[in-house]
Amino acid sequence: MRHGCTSFQNLTRRDFFRIGGVGLFGLSTPSLLEARAANPRARQMIILWLGGGPPHIDMFDMKPDAPAEVRGPWKPIGTKLQGLQVSELMPNLARSADKYTVLRSVNAKGYPDEGQHGAGAAWSWLTANRRDRRSNSPKFPAYGSVLAKVRPGPADLPGFVTFGDIGRESYLGPAYEPIEFKLDDPADRLTTMLAPAPMDITALDRRTELLKSAEQHLRRLDKEEPLIAGLDRFQQQAVDLLRSPKLREAIDLKREPTKSAERYGKGAQCRRVLAARRLIEAGVPCVHVQFHGFIGWDFHGGQGTFAKAVQLISEFDTACAALLEDLEQRGLLDSTIVYAGGEMGRSPKPESTVGSRNHWNDAQSILVAGGGFRRGCVVGATDKNGAYVTDKHYTVASLGRTFYELLGIDADQELYTPDKRPVKIVGEDAPLIQEALA
């Protein structure tokens, strides 16, 4: 069942160390790192955040032989990948199982807020670090912020976009915070700035034109000052963004052919995934989709739990499958990491009503695809009830290091907090999830 990835030829972190190991820890041969950075396998990244704790046993880690209460109300179905079964609620992802890898053995045991919905738990998965709001831990940046810092994208596009609030602050400062679009809010500040009414566009065009021609006439402050240079850069970028149709068109979902849009599903969350694809197509380096808010994937007992689970899992199925298909069709899947998961799994036994499950931090499933991940692969395993990891256990630090490896970013590189504290991109040493790499 587990597909060991024998073809993996890349050097491991330890190898790097041995080759470059003349100096202090973390120093590797620069040329190797440069080569990796110059030609990374992944250039872009989409995160589908299933906050709240998606039920692995009802999605990617079916346990048909477990007692009835454990295996839950949904039946497994076969997939395009021999040996992998998924829930009957996910027929589309079953058909595209040759495109992604399921990680069944990564968890955040011992990380902040483990087994709870606290911000710390989400940060473990979104930063690969222990970011604890109760202590003085650095405010580790999300993957997108690191990308924006270390490898900025095109000038007329933002480096990191989110749909839904993920708490933007990080020690990298506001310059690397994501910009957040609220697709469903007609008064969304960013959207209204970027996609003004046609009349405003005329005024804006007139004014930015005027600004350009005024440059040579205005009294200028010292251009060589770094602060001025920074302001110039950002103003230029802002004007570029405002004048360039790229971003405006990417977030304008009305431009997507109806047929194509419908494949993503009808819900507001599915539209976010569609918008994410359009942004990736436009060239935005990292897009984060909050798929049903901060704790939407929480299935405690009670009326409506069953229906909610059906709705969320089905929506995820259509949206994620359409995303993978579209990326593939556009030739973007090989260079774009798709990462879908939540902060924990859910308990083998129902909490009360059918379809309900409690928080569970010992096992969960993560979907990764594209950008150098194997196509059609399952890594790790859990016991007969889906309760504990039995094989190939990895931590979120491993997951993060694997992402950065594919993105060509040295996870041991030190970035600086505003008070000049050096912090490694991923603080903990951990092995790569090599089984998942193509």
């Binding site: 700035m193 402050l221 001025i228 405002l242």
Partner: protein, 850 residues
Amino acid sequence: MIRTCLSWTGSLFALLLGAGEIVAGESNLPAPSLPSEPLFSRHIVPLFGRLGCNAGACHGAVQGKNGFRLSLFGADPASDHERLRREFGGRRLNFTDPAQSLLLLKATGQVPHEGGKRLLVGGAEYQSILGWIARGAPLDPLDKSKLTGLLLTPEQQTLRPGASYRLQVLATFADGSQEDVTALSTFESRDGAVATVSLEAHVQGMGPGSAALLARFRGQPVVSRVFVPAEAKAAFPEVKEHNFIDRHVLDRLRQLHWHPAELCDDVTFLRRVSLDVTGALPPPDEIRAYSADRRADKRNRKIDELLSRPDHAALWATKFCDILKPHYREDDRFFSEGAQVRRFYEWFRTRLQENVPYDQIVERILTATSAEGRTKDEVLKELEAMALEDAAFSTDLKAYASRRTLDLYWLRPNAGGVPGTIQIAHAFLGLRLQCAECHRHPTDVWQQDDLLSFANFFMRVGRGGEKPSPAEQKQQAEETKKLTEQVKKLRDQAKAKDVAKDESDRLLAEAADLEKKAGMAARFNYLRSTFTGVAPAARASFASVSSSLGKADSKTFRLLGAATAVTPAPDQDPRELVVAWMRKTDNPYFAKAIVNRVWAHYMGRGIVDPPDDLSPLNPPTHPELLDELCRGFIASKYDLKWLHRTILVSRTYQQSSQANASSRADAAHYSRFALRRLPAEVLVDAINHATGGSETYPAVAYVPPGTRAIEVPGDAIVRSRVPASTGIQAAATSGYALELFGRPRRDSSNLCDCDREGAPSLVQGLYLAAFPDLLRKVGNPQGRAAQIVKDHADDARRIEEVFLWTLARLPTASEQRFFREHLQKSPSGQQGVEDVLWLLLNTREFLLNH
């Protein structure tokens, strides 16, 4: 060069060493060497430090590395010795064949070592360790080898690029012996572009500037400074010093051959000083009057006038909120309340308006009590007045502002104990002790015990107020019930069909009054149970911490940097001892912290920078200047206005921001005025000033409509993301801008002055160019543009007015021509003027203080 040196502290020492400018070649110090019979704690442990073995990333890590642990930077030689001898079956040291000791085999890479090859077989360092093992690896008597002094020479040195010299580290030990420990130390240059320093203590001049050089012996740091002058291309200009600040700054610039900028022009000065002192742009009338003023001392007069304006107190009350962080966390209900945060702010504003000496302000914060020695009745009366203000959503919270002490400081969660002590050290001493909470500070001099023993002074602050007795509670509940019923009855009566309009209004007004009374009673009880608690507790408790690294505690009272403990009298509030210590004229941090912060506010960077890091490892660029400012400030009896004025009148503050060819490379020596982006609140106010806009606030903000952003304290009410539980609605429009332009959270979980963000960002650019609300302000038919069009028919005059309201200056001829052309092309005067206004808001000149 010698003449310049004479004005520095330590210059005598430099002279004795013959340390003039080194043009080429190097000093004749002998090459560093190791002793023939090294002692473990004096020589071997420092060697581990020099080789990097006991660094935090290697065996100095908490869990060690690969089963071998050393104390971080060799802080604990005894346990290091124990681990070397006993652990790992004693194989680390081989007494029969010392060269086969695992310690040496690993370090030399003869067996695989993750840390790589650190030691050369046969080298001097290798021989030292080998010899020590051969002698049986003895542990020397530790008390004799305790470090009592460390000296890095030369303390200052001027050096040409390409030239070099050697540093020497001298250690004094408890037994009185002194030793050259250069070969056992590590070295670091804080600015490699100015000078580099090698492991052999070789300093090499690179490019113009000054750099701190850091040496460490056994984890203890010591600092010296190197100056590398630029090439002297022209004679240093004649410039007139305004006061002692300029003497220090110019001396340094002269030494580095960097020429100072010209004085800025009068109009630039007016804009600059208005923004810096009051957070506001000067209106056109003031600019015109100032330009027309021909008096020679008009700058000094303006400074005095601005310092006496209420806006100056408002701006600095905001600054002190940045530092003291009245907000706690968004999920903390008490301090999310607009009223409490506003009271905190208003208390400060009132004290600053009264110009209470800084040491007294700090005393009134640090030794605050709820009762302030008054009778219970007096205290309750104060609470009653506060309850009334709260219930009425008063926009004028007077009752608290007249208190002598700020007990609100202590009512914040985490104000006491170890976290509170870390904040006190940060706020009043400019020190960063966070890392010392769990372990020895890895990049500073503080030990965990320093922090815990200091925290003990703040462990006896009682909180928690007076809970009403059950009987009182019952009585209150009944009263509330009665009032509520009455209100309902009145409202029902008013709604009845046969009631006349004015009778109905009267009934409703009465109901509203009663409701307010009920609300006030509830507030009063709440305030009483919270606001009466701050007092020295009778019971002693001591500071302790427990973390993943283990538990630690202290039972002694020891002031920061003091060698010995003190014992507070049984009836004494230990906090008073801290205040007394702060007030000592030789306190190394107290005056320096505020002087350096005020300096940084006006000059764009601290003499010690970052300004809230007065660590001995972060030396000042101009130590003599900082000393003289501190002495003057103390001599003025901690008069903040003296401090502001002294800095503002200096030529250094009044220079142009335009660099000249000679000083382009300078970033830290004040060869020109440092540009900076307007702080978030000042910017929001400036936009409103320019466009004629204003802000409205929700009632829970407890501020009147039209209040300037600089007067809105705290954080919660202007953030766009506020949890529903606080009952606070996000404020109208300014919230987004304030967040975007880096207004600090003022939350004690983030103890850094850098919480206020001044960096530009993409979304800021978007905001200024296209934020709908800002565009509405620009195009407001009752706004500035419309007013200018109405008041002035002449295009040239219209352009002048827009320039004065935005950039606070008149347009140049070229600007005037360009914009007149645009106005002539515009379909309407209104549209044309709006375009000019929009454009000027989007210039660097508007966004910056320059």
